[in-house]
């Protein structure tokens, strides 16, 4: 309440406007600086906080000071300058607290409320401390209501200021206009608080003041304070703006850099991934190669053969596991040539042949017996082939040695079986021959016996017919001679069963056979012709050669039995030949089917319904065992078989 005797004060309104302007400028600076303080860290933050607090504190203080100066009393007023300085200090501290609170990362309601209480109290303190610095001849009276109201206003405005500052501290597009608006509101609010505070006081005339340390403020000083304050605020805002731009530029540069770093990182990541993939693939390839090697090794070691390789100097550089297991030789022992001398059966003469092929660089193949680690021999097939470079030089030799023992055994068994069959066939041939002979002998014997019986009957008569008797007896003699001749031939055939090489005239053999088969030929109405060259001596087994001839002749006779369109002729021919003696058996039958020509000498091959297929096979063996050759000549009308036999030279065994 203003007492009736209080001095009446008046306001210089232009001064008031200036104070409000200072308040708005300081508010703007505060809002702006809050953003900088928030953005900064560490010492820079402290610097911004101090700078900001100075500028804001100065602004608040200047506004109050200006506001007080705008109040004109009809008295001379002086100011106690240490108190003025104290109010300035409080203003700055209060500003520091406000900036600190508004620039924190978070501002909860408690913190905002506490901040606004401190700030509001601070501003109110600045105001009342400033008033306390006045030295004038009057007693100062305060209206408690208005004082409390001004403090409440200060706290409320502080709360609004903190919230605004916190809200506006980040830089966005509309920040500057909003800050300007907010600054106007805040400035207005601070001014309103001040002038409320001013209204709470009244000056009652009193004793003259203690003017120690008091100064009066000239209009120049008054304006200087405002100007200095504005310059400081401007400097703070400018610095803030420059800093913000710089900060924005740095941020932009940072962003560009970060983007480039991110891109580069992406590229590097991609390259890394490609590298990792490549490494994985290489590892896989190496693994595959290793497996392939292992598989190959397994194949080579498991192969049912002894596998080796040799260098051109003859030393072995690889022997597979089977080789070492079979021979019992180590790799070191298996190198070179020396082991071969003892490992192969000496009868098979392997080493010299292999050395010859090796020296000539020719592929080699031979069957030989190889000694096993336990000393037993088994038959093996050895095969070796050279690997040559593009110039034809032997680079390496590769070879396999395959166990053929079982095959060899089977071959031997087959040979044995064939020998047995040959024997059986021969016995059978002999049986047939015997039947033919029996017939030959029986004919003269029948005639002989019958004639003799006739004679006996005739002689028993009272008057025998002597003429008839003489005739019959003459026939008996003739038949006896005939039978004897047959028996001679049989002896020639049968008495020499065991193979016996003797000196022979081949023509004799042919003639003996011709006599034997003549009857058979005649029965089939075949004319049997011979064309024999003189003096053909050979060394051989008579019975075996007869067997060959009988075989060829019987084949011809069989072939011609059904012949009706031309004469049935069989020609047996002998002649001298480059290889010794040549014997040919030729018929006028249908000949040998060209499709069979190369098979007829095979055992068991036959074209006869009841044939065994051994005749020609055995015949060929017999001829070859005599050192000759038996073959069929193609394109000669009927069948033409010929065989050669070496000539016998006297004195040679």
């Amino acid at each position: 309440m203003i007492s009736a005797n209080a001095y009446l004060g008046s306001y210089n309104y232009s001064e008031v406007a200036r104070s409000v302007f200072v308040a708005i400028a300081a508010s703007y600076a505060a809002l702006d600086l809050t953003g900088r303080v928030t953005a900064a860290r560490g010492r820079v933050r402290l610097a911004w906080l101090s700078g900001g607090a100075t500028a804001l504190g100065l602004g608040i203080w200047a506004m109050h000071f200006k506001g007080m100066l705008a109040f004109r009393l009809p008295l001379s007023v002086e100011y106690h300058w240490p108190t003025v300085l104290a109010s300035l200090g409080v203003a700055m501290l209060t500003s520091a607290v406000a900036l600190y609170v508004a620039s924190r990362d978070k501002m909860g309601p408690v913190r905002a409320l506490a901040g606004s209480v401190i700030m509001g109290s601070g501003i109110a303190s600045v105001h009342y401390i400033g008033m306390a610095s006045m030295r004038l001849p009057a007693i100062t009276r305060f209206s408690p209501m208005l004082v409390a109201f001004s403090i409440l206003l200060a706290i409320l405005f502080s709360l609004a200021a903190l919230l605004l500052a916190f809200d506006l501290r980040e830089d966005t597009k509309w920040t500057v206009p909003r800050r300007l608006g907010s600054a106007v509101v805040m400035g207005g609010a601070v001014s309103a608080m001040h002038y409320t505070g001013m209204a709470a006081v009244s000056f009652i005339p009193g004793p003259p003041p203690d003017l120690s340390q008091a100064v009066s403020i000239s209009p120049v000083g008054d304006n200087g304070v405002v100007i200095v304050t504005l310059i400081v605020i401007l400097a703070a805002i400018t610095t803030s703006s420059v800093d913000r731009r710089a900060d924005a530029e740095v941020r932009r540069l940072n962003q560009g850099l970060e983007q480039r770093v991110a891109e580069r990182t992406l590229q590097l990541e991609a390259i890394n991934q490609a590298l990792r993939k490549e490494i994985a693939e290489r590892e896989r390839a190496e693994e595959a190669l290793r497996r392939s090697d292992e598989r190959l090794q397994l194949v080579i070691d498991t192969l049912p053969a002894l596998v080796w390789s040799k260098l051109p100097d003859g030393s072995a550089d690889f022997l597979n596991q089977r080789f070492q297991e079979y021979t019992g030789l180590s790799l070191a022992e298996g190198l070179g040539w020396d082991w071969m001398r003892n490992a192969f059966h000496p009868d098979d003469r392997l080493e010299e042949e292999w050395r010859a092929a090796f020296a000539a660089g020719e592929p080699f193949e031979k069957e030989a017996r190889l000694r096993r680690a336990d000393g037993a021999y088994r038959w093996f097939l050895l095969r070796a082939a050279p690997l040559r470079d593009e110039r034809g030089n032997v680079v390496k030799w590769y070879g396999t040695t395959t166990d053929i023992e079982d095959r060899k055994r089977a071959e031997e068994a087959l040979q044995e079986a064939q020998d047995k069959i040959a024997h059986v066939t021969r016995v059978q041939a002999m049986g047939e021959l015997a039947a033919a002979i029996a017939h030959e002998v029986n004919q003269p014997l029948t005639a002989l016996v019958t004639n003799a019986n006739f004679c006996l009957r005739e002689l028993a008569r009272a008057a025998p017919n002597l003429g008839e008797l003489r005739e019959a007896i003459a026939e008996i003699v003739s038949d006896g001679t005939r039978a004897s001749a047959v028996i001679s031939r049989i002896r020639a055939l049968l008495m020499k069963r065991a193979p016996d090489r003797v000196e022979l005239d081949i023509n004799e053999v042919i003639q003996e056979v011709a006599i034997l088969v003549r009857n058979e030929a005649a029965r089939s109405r075949i004319s049997l012709l011979t064309d024999l060259a003189a003096d053909l001596r050979i060394r051989g087994d008579r019975v075996q050669l007869q067997q060959v001839l009988i075989n060829l002749i019987m084949n011809s006779i069989d072939a011609m039995r059904t012949l009706t369109d031309r004469p049935r002729q069989l020609l047996i021919k002998s002649a001298k030949h480059a290889d010794g003696v040549l014997i040919q058996v030729q018929d006028s039958g249908p000949g040998i089917d060209p499709g069979h020509a190369d098979r007829i000498f095979e055992p068991f091959f036959t074209t006869k319904p009841e044939g065994v297929g051994m005749g020609l096979s055995i015949s060929r063996s017999i001829v070859e065992s005599h050192g000759g050759r038996l073959r069929v000549i193609a394109g000669s009308g009927g069948a033409l078989f010929e065989f050669t036999l070496p000539t016998h030279i006297d004195g040679a065994s």
Binding site: A438, Q443, T446, A447, V449, N451, E468, A522, R523
Partner: protein
């Protein structure tokens, strides 16, 4: 009826054997004809007389067994004696099955051959005689009238005259006349003989 003198045919490819056999058979007074092959024999004209064939099995051209088959197919029922240098059992069985009289292995005993020839000729002679008798009976049969030929099977079947009369629709008296006439013409003294004769020429009894 006069019976011609018996004749023996010999087929063998060996001339000395042929000649010896002819000498032997000739010594017992039989006529002999010689052939060198089966075809030669088959082509020859054989007289109508009791005869037999001495046949070698192994012959040039047609064999003895083939010749036997030819004769059988031509319905020539000539008794055959085979001779062979070496015969086996299957060959013998085959020859005997087709009706050979004997199978002799060369050289044979002279008496064996002569005995076989005797058997063969006897068989052929009997056959000849039977053929002659049947020929006579057939002549008798042909001398019967139509009516008598109708009555004959009924008489042979053992029917009474009355039954026969009923069968052919005539009187008993007429049947009696037919019966006595056909008995006389067929040369039968009794009903039993008539039945035998009728059987030989294939007239069956009509009633069981």
């Amino acid at each position: 009826m006069t019976v011609a003198a018996p004749i023996v045919f010999v087929v063998d490819d060996d001339p000395p054997v042929r000649r010896a056999i002819k000498r032997l058979i000739g010594s017992v007074g039989l006529q002999v004809e010689l052939f060198g092959s089966a075809l030669e024999f088959l082509a020859s004209k054989r007289p109508d007389a009791p005869s037999c064939l001495v046949l070698d099995i192994r012959l040039p051209g047609m064999s003895g067994l083939d010749c036997q088959r030819e004769l059988a197919e031509a319905n020539v029922r000539l008794p055959i004696i085979f001779i062979t240098a070496h015969g086996d059992i299957p060959m013998t069985v085959r020859a005997m099955k087709v009706g050979a009289v004997e199978f002799l292995t060369k050289p044979f005993r002279d008496q064996d051959l002569l005995d076989a020839i005797q058997v063969a000729l006897e068989r052929d002679r009997a056959r000849h005689q039977e053929e002659a008798e049947i020929a006579t009976l057939r002549t008798h049969l042909e001398s019967l009238t139509q009516r008598e030929r109708e009555v004959l099977p009924l008489v042979v079947s053992g029917l009474l005259n009355k039954q026969i009369a009923g069968e052919i629709g005539t009187s008993e008296t007429t049947v009696k006349v037919h019966r006595s006439r056909l008995m006389r013409k067929m040369g039968a003294d009794s009903l039993a003989e008539l039945v035998r004769l009728a059987g030989r020429i294939g007239i069956p009894s009509t009633k069981p």
